[in-house]
């Protein structure tokens, strides 16, 4: 097993879903059961990516495996020198783990969809889109340059558009798809500008080359501000894709797609792409950029958590929890705890996929009823779904012995350490508060769905446990949500192999632009490349964070039970008492209204103005031109008719006149001709007489 084989396997992994997509999109209708082919390609990819991960992590642990070639060579471009575009893939620990995660989640989603989507008229197309989605995400994960990343980034946007709008007969679904696409585009503009800043300066798209140049102190336009700007602009892409404030509005609407798609979007693919992107550019983020990122992550986490409390649609609650958890990851990256952000990305991928698939199972059982107010008591009817769902909920709430505890705890510890070092106490406060809210709304969801009495007897009677192909994914994801897969010690991730593989990379930004605790020190023996100071603080914060987060989670769970299980406090009365707050949360902070009043209204106004401008001014100019042209052609026509035709007619008339005259000479009589001959002779005679 050498590097080449790893590369080849990875390329195969990328191609396989694409192959499935092509086959299904062209022949899906004609080949019955062709979705099985797609699923088997994903399975093959899963196996081969496991192999890749195993060998990469065990035998090439510290090695960056890169394969690239020059795709386009512009040659020597004036003013810029030699330009070209390299494309290729890069295997490091992050990307192989991410690749494996993508395949796991994608595979279970495929498996789940077999039954869930059964009977859909576009069954094979659905699997084709899933394949395209997987392919795009793998491209993002494995690429080693910004350009390919951007291309696959847009492919992800496209496939998410196709999948969210899969039931495009529903207006809400097609609207949601459009919304997702457009909102993503807004972020992508920033991403593209960031890429262009880097390319304009370094003439390459490749990560390692760009980072190498920055590490040598070669800043874009020789200014730290531009480096900050590039970081934030690229982060804009992540804002769009990972549904961060203020572009988070598309994600809850994306629930219009089939539920397994939601699982895929929310767990391992689309939203993870944003976090993955920030992780990729982590090393080039300046202190200012990181602060911006952390703030946006914190704000997102807080806003979406507060919204999630009052939502009644099971998938919407999960959607807002996703946004909230993504806010956690982004915040974690912003405060410099790279490792925990990535860990949370992976753990979250599993339990959030599980949550969505579980909700899919519930919805399937309830005959596509999504409102939790009409559920309840489903524990008896759907035992397996219930217990797996409970495990996921514990994981997301951050209860010990789950994977979520390890990662969330780490993130909270990171914010605490950051606050201690820099004095930004805002982040840990928000972090812990959101942790409580998370526990609260997740247990609210569980209690309302599975506990208590059935509120819709009719649907309850007909509910039944899902078939095996849907339960196997749920169980396997539940197993993956347990601590043991990440660390043998449920309270300390540092004991696990994950900690061994994922290193926080050295920051490469110049000293004066980075946080003081991020300064790289060459003599660090440890895996963590942050300064000793940060590592030390993190260690100290760890136990504090653990205890605090446990308290907060416990509080949240307690509130949930008090209000919804034991009904000691009436939820309705509480909502009436806190009417303004309740409404504010229930209406999602009025973001949609705000945007439709401002951005959308502005766009519409601008469009109307442009339309008016088009109709009046441009059309006026065009019409004026037309009028002038008409007038010109009219007068030219007159000229034609009178002068030119007159000339022609006159010529014809003159010719005719001479013809009339001369035809008299052609009488057919010999003697007339003779007269002429003689006349000619006489004339010639007199002409030549003098000669």
């Amino acid at each position: 097993m050498n590097e080449n084989i790893l590369i080849q396997l990875s390329i195969l992994n990328i191609i396989l879903p694409l192959f499935g997509f092509v086959l299904l999109i062209f022949f899906g209708k004609r080949l019955p059961k062709s979705h099985l082919f797609e699923i088997s390609t994903i399975f093959v990819g899963l196996v081969s990516s496991s192999i890749v991960s195993f060998f990469k992590l065990n035998y090439f642990e510290d090695k960056l495996i890169v394969f690239d070639f020059r795709w386009i060579d512009f040659g020597n471009v004036p003013f810029f020198g030699n330009l070209g575009i390299n494309i290729g893939i890069q295997l490091d620990n992050v990307s192989v783990i991410m690749q494996l995660t993508v395949f796991i989640v994608s595979f279970v989603v495929h498996l789940f969809s077999i039954k869930y989507m059964e009977g859909d008229p576009r069954y094979s197309r659905y699997f084709a889109y899933l394949g395209l989605f997987t392919f795009s995400m793998l491209g993002i994960v494995l690429t080693h340059n910004f350009l390919m990343m951007y291309i696959f980034w847009e492919l992800v946007g496209l496939s998410s558009y196709l999948l969210i709008g899969f039931w495009f007969e529903k207006k809400s679904a097609s609207d949601a798809a459009k919304k997702a696409f457009i909102v993503n585009r807004i972020g992508d503009v920033g991403f593209f500008l960031g890429i262009l800043i880097l390319y304009a300066n370094y003439h390459t798209f490749t990560f390692s080359e760009i980072f190498g140049q920055i590490a040598q102190g070669n800043l874009p336009f020789n200014s730290g501000a531009w480096l900050t700007a590039a970081g934030i602009l690229i982060f804009c892409g992540a804002i769009g894709k990972s549904a961060q404030f203020p572009l988070h509005v598309w994600l809850p609407d994306a629930m219009e797609g089939p539920t397994p798609v939601s699982a895929l979007i929310h767990a391992a693919t689309m939203v993870a792409a944003g976090v993955y992107l920030v992780a990729r550019i982590f090393v080039m983020l300046t202190a200012d950029a990181m602060l911006v990122i952390a703030s946006i992550g914190a704000i997102t986490a807080f806003i979406s958590a507060t919204i999630a409390i009052t939502q009644t649609d099971i998938k919407r609650v999960l959607a807002y929890s996703t946004v909230s958890q993504l806010g956690y990851m982004i915040m974690s990256l912003g405060v410099g705890s790279y490792f925990f952000a990535f860990l949370h990305l992976i753990t979250h991928a599993f339990f959030k996929a599980g949550l969505f698939l579980g909700s899919g199972s519930v919805i399937h059982a309830m005959h596509h009823e999504q409102d939790i107010r009409f559920m309840g008591g489903l524990r008896k009817k759907l035992p397996i779904t219930y217990y797996t769902f409970l495990i996921y909920t514990l994981a997301i709430a951050g209860i010990p012995f789950t994977s979520g505890f390890l990662s969330k705890d780490g993130i909270l510890g990171g914010t605490l350490a950051f606050a201690k070092l820099t004095g930004y106490w805002f982040f840990p406060v928000v972090g812990f508060f959101v942790a409580m809210l998370t526990a609260f709304y997740m247990f609210r969801l569980v209690i309302l769905t599975f506990h208590g009495e059935a509120r819709d007897i009719h649907k309850f009677e007909h509910a039944h446990e899902s078939p095996a192909t849907m339960l196997i994914p749920l169980i396997s994801l539940a197993v993956l949500s347990v601590f043991i897969f990440f660390s043998p010690n449920p309270f300390n991730i540092e004991a696990g192999w994950f900690y061994k593989w994922i290193e926080t990379p050295k920051t490469i930004v110049p000293q004066e632009l980075a946080f003081s605790f991020m300064i790289n020190e060459s003599n660090t023996s440890h895996n963590i490349i942050h300064s000793e100071l940060y590592t030390e603080t993190l260690h100290h914060s760890h136990s504090t964070a653990m205890i605090l987060s446990l308290i907060m989670a416990g509080l949240g769970i307690l509130f949930a039970f008090v209000i919804y299980q034991w009904r000691l406090i009436s939820a309705d009365k509480l909502s009436i008492k806190l009417q303004p707050l309740y409404n504010f949360s229930y209406n999602k902070w009025y973001f949609d209204e705000l945007y439709s009043k401002t951005a959308v209204a502005f766009t519409l106004g601008l469009s109307n103005f442009l339309a008016w401008f088009d109709q009046k001014v441009i059309d006026g100019i065009v019409n004026g031109t037309a009028t002038i042209t008409r007038w010109t052609s009219f007068s030219s026509g007159k000229f034609d008719n009178r002068v030119v035709d007159g000339l022609v007619n006159w010529t014809a008339y003159v010719t005719g006149f001479f013809g009339m005259v001369f035809r008299k000479f052609q009488t057919g009589k010999v003697q007339t001709y003779l007269v002429m001959v003689l006349t000619g002779i006489i004339i010639l005679f007199f002409i030549f007489k003098s000669l």
Binding site: Q666, T667, K669, V670, Q671, Y673, L674
Partner: protein, 102 residues
């Protein structure tokens, strides 16, 4: 004023122009033929006058003799043609025979 060469030449010139006039104006084909005869005669007068005054011996006379022979042949053929035309068109008026027009 003693009659000399010029008188004969002048006579033949007048005769010639009269013949031309006849050829050009007359409608009857036979009269056109007559005009031609006049022209031939004027030419003969010229020949003989030059032979007489130019000391060329009898050459002029012989040539005029040939002219007369040709005139006879021409008259015979022309009249045959005229008769033919008459059979064809029932007229010998040259102006009505304008097939050349088409």
């Amino acid at each position: 004023m003693t009659v000399g060469l010029n008188h004969f030449l002048a006579l033949s010139a007048v005769l010639f122009s009269l013949g031309i006039y006849a050829v050009l104006t007359r409608k009857n084909a036979i009269q056109v033929l007559m005009g031609i005869e006049l022209i031939l005669n004027s030419a003969n007068i010229n020949f003989i006058a030059f032979a007489h005054y130019g000391n060329f011996g009898l050459t002029g006379q012989v040539i005029s003799l040939f002219v007369i022979i040709l005139a006879a042949a021409e008259a015979a053929i022309a009249l045959a043609i005229v008769l033919n035309i008459y059979k064809q068109y029932s007229t010998v008026n040259v102006d009505e025979i304008d097939g050349l027009k088409e």
